[in-house]
Symmetry: C2
């Protein structure tokens, strides 16, 4: 029976029947940082992105890497929207320049902080989404729903509370599936 | 027998026995772009990186996303160096600013060009590595070994012909395994 179990587990993993990458929570409702999130699907990276028109260019801009759980990514490719148990990790890293042989531009260095966005329509009634602040820890508390991240994602996220307009490899999928809010497309004023 | 075959394939895939992500070549030696390289392991991203001290800051800097085949990544975690059949994809994307609700900084847009680096000590005697230029095509020719990418990677790559000094999540692995050339560490002159 041992080998039969191994076979079933193997096949289930291949077929994606077990969502091994679903969000995990502590008893007091904190989100657990997936140990292997760096092996998840990379959506995109920005440098020094800001939504505040009054802000000046940061002298120390950070990179923002976004990863999503593989099971949620595959569901997005099929439907153009996110399933329950979607977990997006926002990894914020410092930038540096002129190290090693680099003579210009920016490359990534240490993790500054980590944030996360979770879709769970039973756990989070209303929009079905919640945000978590993890800092450099392996767990993080939920951010209160009065925070601006909730209202901003709801109003400006191009697909289902998320900024797909900034994830170039998903834009075509969402357009094809008809799930993209056209008003939130990231047609740039300054395209390089 | 059909189900037995499926079971064996399933288990082999889970165990990583088949390196399904090994480099594929056309009959005339061109590298085939893996259709799912965006689902591979993301190593890092830079913006406007240059190795030329004479160059000014680009007015239209590109992002450089680096992905590696999962089987090679797992081998690196174990040994701190790259196995035969390692395939690294350099995806160069344009940057934009002030699109959608973005008011500053840069986000990624369309693919500009794709390059690749392959380790295959039988196919490429000498360093064991070769570079390929794919542009926006699904296959790409090998870059002649007289090109500067060969000499620069050989001299300046912190680990095994690759710029691990710019892949922050791999630096600790290479240091722990003792595979990092200390002289090539990216201790930045301007760390932000």
């Amino acid at each position: 029976m041992k080998s039969t179990f191994a076979i079933v587990v193997g096949l289930a993993a291949v077929a994606g029947l077990f969502a091994a990458d679903a969000p995990q929570f502590t008893k007091d409702g904190q989100l657990v940082l997936p140990a292997n999130y760096r092996e998840w699907i990379f959506l995109s990276s920005g440098l020094g992105m800001t939504y505040d028109s009054g802000s000046q260019r940061a002298s120390a801009p950070n990179f923002t890497n976004v990863f999503v759980a593989p099971s949620a990514y595959r569901a997005f490719l099929e439907k153009g929207t996110w399933p329950d148990n979607t977990l997006l990790i926002l990894e914020i890293r410092a930038s540096a320049s002129e190290g090693s042989i680099n003579k210009g531009g920016q490359y990534q260095t240490d993790v500054v902080t980590i944030e996360a966005e979770v879709k769970d329509t039973r756990r989070f009634p209303g929009s079905g989404w919640a945000f978590f602040a993890l800092g450099k820890a392996t767990t993080g508390k939920v951010i209160p729903s009065s925070a601006t991240c909730y209202s901003c994602h709801s109003a400006n996220g191009a697909v289902d509370n998320t900024f797909v307009q900034f994830y170039p490899s998903l834009i075509a999928v969402a357009k094809q599936k008809g799930t993209m809010k056209a008003a939130n497309l990231a047609t740039p004023a300054q395209s390089h």
